[in-house]
């Protein structure tokens, strides 16, 4: 899976600008889907399988957008001021490098910030090497993502956009391995999650699922200064979400997911996330309401340019997702 992971995490796709990553994924899944479409907000929706008597219409949602920046002003010396797209901390910006959608590269500077003082995003600027407004290739409204190559540490992997490309990889891989399913499965590669689950909201309306699962990353609780504490750790298996700040997973689904993992001998851990949200909320609240759950991949340093996941967790998340989709879904 590593070549696929590298390809996906290195393709830029800040929220609202997912066309490049969408094209990469579309090519990847073309041979494994029965039907592929793109909705008005740009989500890629791939259908696989035919619903049998024991089956349901199931939505799987992995978002393909990542956090990024948008230019607000080019000053007279050619420096670019910006705002965030999604949850961007000034601390992870400083010294960072960015890549605009047209290929322009730049660095983020912080001259003039007082020692020991937490800077605001408005204190920072992007330097693309321009000398004035006139020779600056960036215009107001142009978008960039953080630039950082994929880092393979063996069992552990690091990238700027594990959130949530690693989930897209899990969904793609599950699609490839899924041979028999009683369900009509709609794999949604959703857009604009980082700015408010927007793509999943319209995709869920369109798919009209009977049950749905988000695939996303979640925080790890295994670093030296984890705060708040969390009982998740890299390598302990895919996490079955009980709740996050955006939704409470359907307890019947949670129970069934746990039992399925146990039956298949797949390691798993339970996830109770205090902050943060996922596409699960969008699925749960669509139309008249839908039972929804979430499979998470535990990830360190989320929303930094160096997000770390464990290879075994990724493999086991694929196995769990395939296992879930192969069998009838029991809700009782």
């Amino acid at each position: 899976m590593k070549p696929l992971i590298k390809k996906l995490v290195e393709t830029p796709g800040p929220s609202g600008f997912e066309y490049a990553i969408r094209d990469v994924i579309r090519e990847e899944i073309a041979d494994f889907a029965d039907e592929i479409r793109v909705d008005a907000l740009g989500s890629l929706i791939a259908k696989k399988g035919t619903k049998t008597d024991a089956g349901l219409r199931v939505m799987i949602s992995a978002h393909i957008d990542e956090i990024g920046l948008m230019a607000t002003h080019i000053d007279e010396h050619g420096f670019v001021r910006f705002v965030n797209i999604g949850g961007v901390s000034p601390l992870t910006c400083i010294g960072g490098r960015v890549l605009f959608m047209d290929g322009t590269q730049g660095v983020i500077g912080m001259d003039g910030i007082e020692r020991g003082k937490m800077p605001a995003l408005s204190d920072l600027f992007i330097d693309v090497g321009a000398t004035s407004k006139d020779d600056c290739p960036v215009k107001v409204g142009d978008v960039c993502g953080f630039e950082r190559p994929f880092l393979d540490l063996g069992k552990r992997m690091v990238a700027k956009s594990m959130d949530d490309r690693i989930a897209a990889v899990v969904a793609i891989e599950a699609m490839k391995r899924l041979k028999n399913t009683p369900h009509e499965v709609h794999f949604v590669f959703s857009t604009q999650e980082e700015v408010g689950l927007r793509g999943a909201i319209t995709a869920a309306y369109g798919v009209d699922p009977e049950v749905g699962f988000a695939i996303d990353v979640t925080r790890s609780g295994d670093t030296p200064r984890t705060n708040p504490k969390m009982a998740t750790a890299l390598g302990d298996g895919p996490a079955i979400k009980v709740r996050d700040a955006s939704f409470i997973a359907d307890p019947r689904l949670v129970e069934w997911m746990v039992k399925s993992a146990q039956d298949a001998g797949i390691p798993y851990q339970m996830e109770v996330l205090e902050a943060g949200g996922t596409d699960g909320r969008a699925i749960q609240l669509t139309r008249a309401g839908v039972p929804a759950g979430c499979v998470s991949i535990v990830c360190r340093y989320i929303h930094s340019p160096s997000e770390m996941v464990d290879s075994d967790d990724v493999e086991n998340a694929v196995r769990l997702l395939v296992k879930l989709l192969e069998a009838p879904i029991i809700l009782d």
């Binding site: 066309y19 607000t72 001021r81 705002v83």
Partner: protein
Amino acid sequence: MTKTNETHTELALEIGASQLELLEKLCNATAVSGDEHEVRQIVLEEIKPHVDEVKVDALGNVLATRFGRGENRLRVMLAAHMDEIGFMVVKKHDDGLFEFERIGGIDERQLPGKPVLVGREHLPGVIGAKPIHMTTSNERKNKIETSALRIDLGPEIGDKVKPSDRAAFATRFEVIGPSLRAKALDNRLGVATLIELLKHAPEQIDLLAAFTVQEEVGLRGAGVAAYAFHPDMAVAVDATPANDFPHWDDDDENDRYNTRLDAGPAIYVMDFYTIPDRRLINWLVETGEQTGTPYQLRQPGGGGTDAGAIHKVREGIPSVSVSVPIRYAHTAVSLARLDDWAYTLNLLHTALGRITPDLLAGERRD
């Protein structure tokens, strides 16, 4: 980014005496969120002769349709909110003094000393302030909380005002040289623009005009309006702050102006609620470029328009926003330029006339 128009091309739609009279009527009416009755009545009266269908929905939105002619007409929704920021009376005290709450985004520092009009009868009151003679220097450093302020309507008011009545700033509409000065230019400029567009609707599309409610308290009206219209695309027409004073310090360039007066309609590239469909941004920008109509790109960042609710409706609706730049938004007096309004109206009018189904062919992309 701005584009100036040196050669003032002739405008298809002029802002004349009757358009200004309508804007004046709209601005002087009160329509604080949740009680948009007055503006709704003006809108209904103005548009009825020009539309094929009109209805008022459950939330109070005015939904008006003007059908085009021919095949393959796109259903194009325009949205402008009728409501304005203001106040609600919450408790009566003795001597005609009333406690109130703010409705919509109002800076508390803007309140003391402002005349207001209360209720549908526009009863004159004032948000009183302690005179400088009686305040300490310490008091003058701090803002006064809304809970410590009262609307003073005088002891004669009796039962004419009750909790739940709305109140609005009492500023009267004026044209001052090239400028418009009024309360609620946000968003009566948008409402007046939609009315003009309905009167001069292009033939090749179906024009679906939503005059929405409760935008200032969370884009509440627009979502249900979009659900009902089920359009192919949508444009929110609004007003947005121009924070365009140069900084005093020459070394500190103003990099957070949002928009500038005299630079034409502001096209949105991103706000808090919406990342607009680039196909629609390009459609408006190209219209501006090719017709020599001035326009500016609003700086991306916070704020929001009805597009924030509309684009997430059903399976998603490609949406964009265009605003008239105004100074001092959400205060008692805002200020706009007549030309910015005229160019906004004309940019939209021309752009609507250029729509073909090709605009939405293919996928959302850059």
